[in-house]
Amino acid sequence: MSKYAFFLGCVMPMRYPGIESSTRMIMKALGIELVDVDEFSCCPAPGITRSLHSDTWLSVAAHNLVAAQEAKLDIVVVCNGCYGSLDEAAHMLNHDEAKRAEVNKILKRAGSKEYKGKTKVHHFAELLHKEVGTDAITKKVKHTLENLKIAIHYGCHFLKPSAVRNLDNPETPHILEDLVEATGAKSVDYRQKQMCCGAGGGVRANTPDVALKMTEEKLNYLDEVEIDLILDVCPFCHLQYDRGQKDLGRDKQYPVLHLSQLYGMAFGMDRKLLGFELHDTPVDI
């Protein structure tokens, strides 16, 4: 059984804890042990922290990498924002000794430990695809989802910047299609599939109306095809679609599921523990 430090972030534990409970259950079922680390904080949120003050962003991210280092584990995230922060910070610090020395000075003054530049960061969808594999996932499916038509939303920081992530082609990827179809469900293509949900970069916080216009554009593209739900791998995109549809007052609303929740359904886990009651857009599937 492989073992990882489970990085919770902020939006998941504090807005959509159903994603957290689902992740814990499905990863256990798939033979991946998740370890809690009470030294983890905010990643910190790249859109706001990195935009405002990159030294702070890098130092707090480095501290999170230190926490995993001390637990002798690599990190697994279930949020593209956390992935963006931690994977990019690791990329910078693991390859640049001078930068690491600079950050280590701040960590030392603050009472943290030296970052040695070895921690690796994984998105859980990457682990499911590479380490677990779709065959093993299909074997766990108790309720086939073959009647469901799913619109996949990748989000931005799962695959981009691709020079750092190096996971899949960001324009025509297949990781999530493979993972969705492993449940029997059908992934439906639609216009501008790789487009942003609108929330990132501090835009949702600063100008929520602008963020919502982008969300609306994507939802309009979804109206052109026939789907049962929107699937994401990021609690922040999840929030933008789930609340966004309510805020827009749309007639046509699509349930929004994180991949962990979809797997929870497919694996036959107790529906009450998937946290759908906490969604603003009803999950009526």
Partner: protein, 172 residues
């Protein structure tokens, strides 16, 4: 006519380059970035123009620009740029410089201040603690929120890195 009155600040592009925007000068203004920008479809934000202003050293216009904050950092422009300009990374450098020049968005100050207190982006509220319990989770997430000593270290890091002062200053 108005455009001609801007006095180019040659130090500005140099500083962007020194702070990590090393690919700034490669841009030849093809507009692939703006054509790919989801935010530009909804607003007046034209990333191509900001990059041009940056190259020319029109610092004041870049730093005071509201548009600089319309970027969702989706990286589409950066991925598609035929010249390999790291557009999104450059936006981030320019935002840092804008903040230093005193241009900080009100909501970012508010969220930054909250981050400086709890080491998390969002507050943990009572109903959510109940909901967590109902899902079989700990009421308080097992992060620094459940360990005061560990929380203090993160708060110290934000102080030592200069974030706390920045957010306080921004708030004035």
């Amino acid at each position: 006519m108005g455009e001609a009155t801007y006095k180019p600040d040659n130090k500005f592009p140099r500083e962007i380059i020194e702070r990590g925007g090393t690919t700034l000068l490669r841009c030849f203004q093809c507009g692939t970035c703006t054509g790919s920008c989801p935010s530009g479809r909804q607003t007046a934000f034209r990333i191509r123009k900001l990059i041009r202003w940056a190259q020319l050293g029109i610092a004041d216009k870049v730093l005071a620009s509201e548009d600089l904050w319309m970027c969702t950092t989706c990286y589409t422009c950066q991925e598609r740029c035929p010249r390999g300009v790291e557009v999104t990374d450059i936006v981030m450098v320019m935002r840092n410089m804008a903040v230093e020049a005193g241009h900080m968005q009100a909501q970012h100050i508010r969220i930054g201040a909250s981050l400086a207190k709890t080491a998390h982006l969002l507050p943990l509220k009572e109903p959510m603690m109940k909901a967590r319990k109902g899902l079989g989770l700990s009421e308080v997430p097992p992060t620094v929120l459940s360990n005061k000593k560990n929380l203090d270290i993160v708060l110290n890091i934000m102080k030592e890195a200069g974030f706390v002062k920045l957010v306080q200053k921004g708030g004035k």
